[in-house]
């Protein structure tokens, strides 16, 4: 059963990602990316990480995708038709590099024995464990993340204002 779920989600994810990097129109590309985000949330659920799956749906599928679509609608696409599509030379050079890299990494991962790793078993559910760890051991990085978001907001406002 787990194998069937994995094969379904993996085929869905890889097809969405390939579609997102191949199609010409940026709006179609962002829709393929939305499909890949949904597949990723399914993968997180099947791995038992419910909190990250929910955050993936909330942050990516709602906030980031809507932001992309809003920005795409403000650009007049008739003027810049020549920048749709892909560079053919880079495509032909990059494709063997990607294939060889993935094959070698897969061979390396296959060689490693993961059953020898010691595992600490806890009985509480995923959200409780992540929340407890996040607000005890990772409290300071959590606060720093809010500062990162604040600086990003200030930067976006500075970049987006009109020049005098």
């Amino acid at each position: 059963m787990e194998l069937i779920v994995f094969i379904f989600l993996a085929v869905w994810l890889v097809l969405s990602v390939v579609g997102a990097i191949i199609v010409k129109n940026p709006v179609h590309s962002i829709l393929f990316f939305l499909s890949s985000v949904l597949a990723t949330a399914g993968i997180f659920l099947s791995l038992g990480a419910e909190l990250i799956a929910g955050l993936q749906l909330i942050i990516y599928a709602v906030a980031i995708v809507v932001f992309y679509v809003l920005v795409i609608t403000t650009i007049p696409w008739e003027k810049i038709k020549k920048f749709e599509g892909i560079y053919l030379g880079e495509f032909l050079v990059g494709l063997p590099f990607i294939i060889i890299s993935v094959i070698f990494i897969a061979l390396l991962i296959n060689k490693y024995d993961i059953s020898s790793i010691p595992v600490k078993v806890e009985i509480t559910d995923n959200v409780t464990r992540v929340g407890k760890t996040l607000f005890t051991y990772y409290l300071f990085p959590f606060e720093v993340a809010s500062v990162i978001l604040l600086i990003a907001m200030i930067g976006a406002i500075l970049l987006g204002r009109k020049e005098e």
């Binding site: 990250i52 932001f67 993935v102």
Partner: protein, 100 residues
């Protein structure tokens, strides 16, 4: 190959497909989308490792990756819009000020 290893290989495949897209696409916005795909691949690997170890640390790392992705898309799209408004560029081959 067990199922967890297959998930890790899937994460690497998604990461490299995103890198490939960032290399080959002409449009600046689709290059940003490919960066998001790379971050998604990294998240898949982190959560898979956590599911192997039955821990929580890597999930918290992937939560920070989500934060950085949100900050990156705000700054990146702001930069793309500023470049387009000030110069009229929308392709990655037009931005050659540092090269010339």
């Amino acid at each position: 190959m067990t199922l967890e290893k297959a998930y890790i290989v899937l994460g690497f495949l998604v990461f490299f497909l995103g890198l490939f897209g960032a290399i080959i696409r002409k449009n600046l916005i689709t290059i940003l989308i490919c960066t998001e795909i790379m971050l998604t691949g990294a998240n898949i690997i982190l959560v898979t490792v956590d599911s192997i170890l039955k821990g929580t640390d890597a999930q918290i790392m992937s939560l920070f990756v989500l934060t950085v992705a949100a900050a990156e898309v705000a700054i990146g799209l702001g930069l793309v819009m500023a470049i387009f408004r000030l110069k009229g560029y929308e392709g990655s081959s037009e931005i050659t000020h540092l090269r010339d």
